[in-house]
């Protein structure tokens, strides 16, 4: 009697937990999309996740509970540990890794269902799965597997384990053929009774496609690609959620699928490129011969640069990828802080695609403790450069290159840039004559009112700090 009551209300209560979890996911994501509420958002979503997982443990008829808890504890523990100790700049590859794992999990669930159906078919049973469920299970495996292997390659590239872009003639045709193979095998699974060998071949083809598709993409394009795989994993989760008739999976997966698709587009747009160009094109194929740049780069030494800024009224600091490479954010903030204490009005100007991922600079500056109301967007700061006494560019190149406005033959022509060249004085910290991501010359470095401060970003920032201190001593 007691057990009877339990089994009656339990499934309803569990479904209620899933409903609440889905609600918390949506509300959490909503909060995450505004800076003021973002911190709370992830906690809301986390509570939803906890609720859903605990409810699932109580689901009637579950076996292998020990194994389940073990798997969660071990993998969760490892993920927790790795997530906690990774450096801020390595976040994108961790997102890629975790996302790939999610895609793999969705694919595994689909394989699990297909294997079960194959077993029924082998014993002469028919129609182990409803047609809609079968189709979505197969699609989920395909998408999930592509996201899995693709994300792992993205992880490896960003981690620096694979530097080269693997390109060979006929590559795109080959990739399309692999995809076709996967689709055909998937079709066989749907229209013929599923067999083990076909399932294995299908899974392998899908994994191979994800791998091959990601290999030729350059490391710097990875954030967009990761975002795409993130959306794909969401979709795969939604499809397998339908197979398992689990509403929380359907809703969370679809929401992420749609949100991720839009986010991918926004990211590509912020880089002034199309998604197709990121996936299949190569950057830098310019239309004509770029204009040559006249003049010479004029150097400056750290003491002079420090004095210039110490006695300026308004200073704008423009960080770029080089600041991330040099891990110079803490020193730069220390320097900025000193300037502020001297009464200088300091602001940080962030270009939408500075660095190698959207918001890269924001994350780094936030890590260093720069309050985000000192950070200004490109649109807001551009009109103010003419009134700015000194702009300190640290490790930025493409995002301050005026040829984007002046030279139609340049590969970055048309990309909005920070108008540093309009400021009264610019000081550029970089190591040498290295090019930026787009691989082109930068007219700013040759401008009359620009001075180059050559050296590693962190070392130079430290030197500026000590020069300022010596001014007061």
């Amino acid at each position: 009697m007691h057990a009877d009551v339990l089994t009656r209300w339990l499934p309803e209560a569990i479904r209620a937990c899933y409903l609440i979890a889905a609600l918390l996911f949506i509300l959490g994501l909503k909060r995450m999309s505004s800076p003021r509420t973002a911190r709370g958002g992830v906690v809301w979503a986390g509570v939803g996740m906890l609720l859903a997982v605990l409810a699932t443990l109580l689901l009637p008829g579950m076996h292998h509970l020990g194994l389940i808890v073990l798997g969660i504890a071990v993998a969760g523990g490892l993920a927790w540990w790795s997530g906690k100790r990774v450096a801020m700049t390595d976040m994108p590859q961790m997102v890629a890794l975790y996302n790939g794992m999610g895609g793999g999990a969705a694919a595994a669930i689909g394989v699990f269902e297909l294997v079960g159906a194959a077993r029924v078919a082998a014993m002469g049973g028919v129609d182990a799965m409803a047609p809609a469920a079968l189709v979505l299970a197969v699609l989920g495996v395909l998408i999930g597997a592509v996201s899995f292997s693709g994300s792992l390659i993205a992880f490896a590239k960003l981690q620096g384990w694979m530097d080269r872009r693997f390109v060979f003639p006929g590559q795109q045709v080959f990739n399309v053929l692999i995809l076709l193979l996967a689709v055909v095998l998937g079709g066989v699974l749907i229209f013929a009774p599923p067999a083990m060998a076909v399932i294995a071949g299908f899974l392998l083809a899908a994994l191979a496609f994800g791998l091959l598709m990601t290999l030729p993409i350059g490391g710097a394009d990875m954030p967009v690609v990761i975002s795409l795989y993130n959306a794909l994993t969401g979709l795969a989760v939604a499809f397998e959620g339908f197979v398992l008739q689990n509403e929380a999976m359907i809703i969370a997966g679809t929401v992420v699928g749609a949100a991720g698709t839009l986010l991918t587009q926004l990211m590509a747009k912020a880089m002034n490129r199309s998604l197709g160009n990121v996936l299949f094109g190569s950057f830098g194929a310019a239309a004509g011969e770029a204009q040559a740049i006249d003049g010479a780069q004029k150097e400056i030494e750290a003491p002079d640069a420090a004095v210039m800024m110490a006695y300026a009224e308004r200073v704008v600091i423009v960080p770029g990828y080089g600041m991330a490479v040099a891990q110079a954010q803490h020193k730069i903030w220390e320097f900025a802080h000193q300037l502020i204490e001297r009464g200088v009005k300091v602001r940080f100007a962030i270009h939408p695609v500075a660095g190698r991922m959207p918001g890269h600079m924001n994350v780094l500056l936030a890590e260093a403790g720069v309050p985000y109301d000192l950070i200004v967007d490109m649109e807001d700061v551009n009109p103010e450069f003419p009134n700015t006494d000194v702009v300190l560019v640290i490790g930025a190149n493409d995002v301050v290159n005026p040829v984007a406005k002046t030279d139609p033959a340049s590969p970055i022509y048309g990309m909005p840039v920070l108008d540093v060249v309009a400021a009264k004085q610019a000081i550029v910290i970089k190591r040498g004559r290295g090019k930026g991501f787009a691989g082109i010359e930068n007219a700013l470095f040759y401008a009359d009112n620009t001075r180059m401060l050559f050296g590693d970003g962190q070392a130079m920032a430290a030197q500026l700090v000590s020069e300022l201190k010596s001014l007061d001593a």
Binding site: L29, L244, M249, V255
Partner: protein, 102 residues
């Protein structure tokens, strides 16, 4: 039970919801939000648990266990990383009056 049509309705509405949530996000939050949505599809853990919980024979158990391990990595890692990223968004003015600016 969710039949195909109802699933389509849910897909449609959830897709609208996801789209609209993102439509107004400032660039500064692109990466944390990518990470946050990565965490949310960690709900796949629930499906993996159900699979392993109904596994029957060694192959099933192996596949189910792989699913649980991968999914748990997604969920836990996604949370930790997102939380760390978002933790860093703070304003210099305590009330966060400038909060909407991004």
């Amino acid at each position: 039970m969710i039949d195909g049509f109802v699933a389509l309705y849910i897909f449609m509405l959830a897709a609208f919801t996801g789209y609209e949530i993102i439509a107004r996000v400032p660039v500064i939050l692109h990466t944390p939000l990518m990470s946050g949505s990565n965490f949310v599809h960690g709900i796949v853990l629930v499906g993996a648990m159900v699979a392993l919980g109904h596994a029957d024979g060694p192959l099933d158990i192996a596949i189910g266990f792989i699913a649980v391990v991968l999914a748990a990595g997604n969920a836990v890692g996604g949370y930790v990383v997102t939380e760390r990223m978002l933790e860093m968004f703070k304003s210099s003015r305590p009330g966060g009056a400038n909060g909407e600016k991004g």
